[in-house]
Amino acid sequence: MQTITIKPKKEIKISVEAENITPDKLAGKTEQEIQSMEAWVGNQKTTLGELFSIRVEGSAPAAETKIVMEGDFARVKRIGEGMTSGLLIINGNVDMHLGNKMSGGNITVKGNVDSWAGREMKGGELIIEGNAGYYLGAGYRGESCGMRGGKITVLGNALDFVGEHMCGGEIIVKGNTGILPGLSNNGGKIVIEGNTSRPGSEMSKGTIIVNGTVDEMMPVFKLEGNEDLGGVLYKKYTGDVISNGKGLLYVR
């Protein structure tokens, strides 16, 4: 087991890009090695050591590596990018693109995350105890596929475009979401415990379950009747009818 503890040295105003902070990249490295790894502040190339105090205990492969981040990372982007295994625990807020393209391992955030968390995620688990920003588990501009696998859980709320272009995997939002969750869903599962608006537009596959209220329904769904899901009765819709979509939308 290797544990790496990372704390900001000072308040960060200009966004830091720190895609090196993943178990894959830090596993087996010493404090000194990690400190000398690249990070960017705006247009300035710097090192992780300049920005963060880093403590390393033990040495292990990525799968047995735990990164613990203490403090405010609200201006640190791309943490956990592409991670394949290991643990990443953030006791604070984080900036955009958390866990983008991750395919394994586990990220837990105690605070809030900014937009594009779990973008193009392929596997692993992302747990956000606070709120999420826009485009949770979505895709990159122009790509036809967003999240493909893995699981994202948000205990708070998420903003617009949750799971845009999702092709697989699962997103659970315990609170409310903004507009257009599951837009162009092509095979993912989204569960919204709270309220939302305009869910499931252009869905071709996948499932969206809304347990709260739907503020505005898209006029693209066919009401199929009621269905019992685990003891709860839902209105079951299929769509999007425009493209003969096979998506399922359940509204309580």
Partner: protein
């Protein structure tokens, strides 16, 4: 007296190229064929006379030499860790190229005024493409014209005469009489008053209305409720009928779509409607671009960087993600630590919080006119007016590029020259 014919108008995205300009003693004394907007710009307004600087935003400006101002601008920009180069719409493509090079040198973010106008249209194009046509194709063929969330009577006064509603062409010899005009808006505008069919949408509901039209078009009227976004179902059915039985449909859209609730997804959806209508008829869709060369910046930026705008060069390679790298994103997050505003007016057209941040950081302005950006600037460099005093390239709203003429000799240097000198000075400061 000199008479310049076939001159181009440096105001809106219509880029009218049939103006006649009368010049006497290097002064424009008459503008013919232009609309109120074009005439006002070409006839000219009060100008900033000389470069100005000040240390503190609340103190008065002092006039300085161009050299001093350029030197200070270069210092401010090269000391910045997160510089923003914003504006560009009221400038020619030749300046855009210089600006992109400067952004590369600085590791800056470069963004243009589309960010508060049609950049969402570009986001939609990433999703669905853009089935469009040149304006003459529409003039010669379109028998149904739709204006959605746009008000050309105010924003593009000659559009309807030259290209759309009234224009006559090979297959549209009857002009207005042979056309059906549909206007979709949240309020009854002057454009709506000229329509054969006005569709009043509840503010923010455009996305739902487009989807309802698509559902009806695909034979699923059954899933559409009695009213959608305030529009009765019967009217939606009627419109679908008009659209699918037309010979050539042209949809024009404006900020009513880009700026309302579902933002770029409105356009994304409208492009899908366009796509699907092509199974029944010919249909094209075109953004009503605001500034005369806001389209040009997107074109130049795309061929130089691969992305149309909001490009972040911080790490030496272009990175693009509006919502993260657009001008207001970085201003509102208070990330930007210096800005250059050129040929666009962030002070007037950005939300208060963004302007508030500009008021806190060093700002360089390059512009012919005194405007709200001047009020928050430290260094102000006046330049010649592109398309009036400087020749160069501009792109019409339909992506057709044209060469702007020079009408009179400028008293100020062109922005290309200022940008070149700033770039040179930046290199010197960095010891390159």
């Amino acid at each position: 007296m000199t008479v310049i014919t076939d001159a181009l108008c440096p105001f809106c995205g219509c880029l009218c190229d049939d103006l006649t300009i009368v010049v006497e003693d290097n002064k424009i004394t008459d503008v013919k064929q232009a609309c109120k907007l074009g005439t006002a710009k070409i006839m000219g307004h009060h100008r900033i006379k000389a470069p100005m600087m000040r240390k503190d935003k609340n103190s008065e400006f002092t006039e300085v030499s161009y050299e001093e101002a350029i030197n200070e601008a270069a210092k401010i920009l090269s000391n910045s860790k997160r510089p923003l180069l914003y504006g560009w719409a009221s400038s020619v493509c030749e300046a855009h190229k210089k600006g992109i090079l400067l952004a590369e040198e600085l590791g800056a973010i470069i963004d243009n005024t589309a960010t508060v106008c049609h950049a969402p249209s570009t986001l939609a194009v990433h999703e669905k493409g853009l089935p469009s046509a040149t304006l003459g194709q529409i003039k010669n063929r379109a028998d149904v014209i739709v204006f959605w969330g746009s008000n050309p009577v105010h924003a593009h006064p000659r559009h309807m005469g030259r290209y759309s509603v009234f224009a006559k062409g090979l297959f549209t010899e009857k002009g207005r009489k042979g056309r059906k005009v549909i206007v979709v808006d949240v309020r009854k505008t002057e454009t709506a008053n000229m329509a054969d069919e006005f569709v009043q949408v509840q503010q923010g509901s455009d996305y739902l209305v487009v989807s309802a039209l698509r559902s009806i078009l695909s034979g699923h009227a059954d899933v559409v409720p009695d009213t959608v976004g305030g529009v009765p179902k019967e009217q939606l059915i009627k419109i679908v009928e008009v659209l699918k039985t037309a010979k050539f449909v042209s949809i024009f859209f404006g900020m009513g779509l880009t700026q309302s609730k579902s933002m770029y997804k409105n356009i994304d959806n409208a492009i899908s409607l366009t796509f699907e209508l092509n199974s029944f008829t010919k249909c094209v869709i075109t953004p009503m671009r605001g500034h005369y060369n806001v389209t040009g910046f997107g074109q130049v930026c795309a061929w130089e960087t691969g992305y149309a705008t909001a490009v972040d060069f911080a790490r030496g390679a272009p990175y693009y993600n509006p919502g993260e790298t657009a001008a207001n994103d970085v201003l509102l997050r208070k990330e930007t630590d210096a800005a250059m505003i050129i040929a666009g007016d962030a002070g007037a057209h950005f939300p208060a919080d963004s302007v508030r941040h500009l008021a806190r950081i060093p700002v360089v302005q390059i512009d012919p006119y005194w405007n709200p950006t001047t009020e928050v600037s430290n260094v102000v460099i006046p330049v010649a007016i592109c398309g009036v005093e400087v020749a160069g390239t501009a792109y019409r709203m339909d992506g057709v590029s044209l060469r702007m003429r020079k009408m009179v000799e400028p008293a100020h240097p062109p922005d290309t020259e200022i940008l070149e000198k700033i770039t040179e000075r930046v290199r010197e400061l960095r010891g390159e």
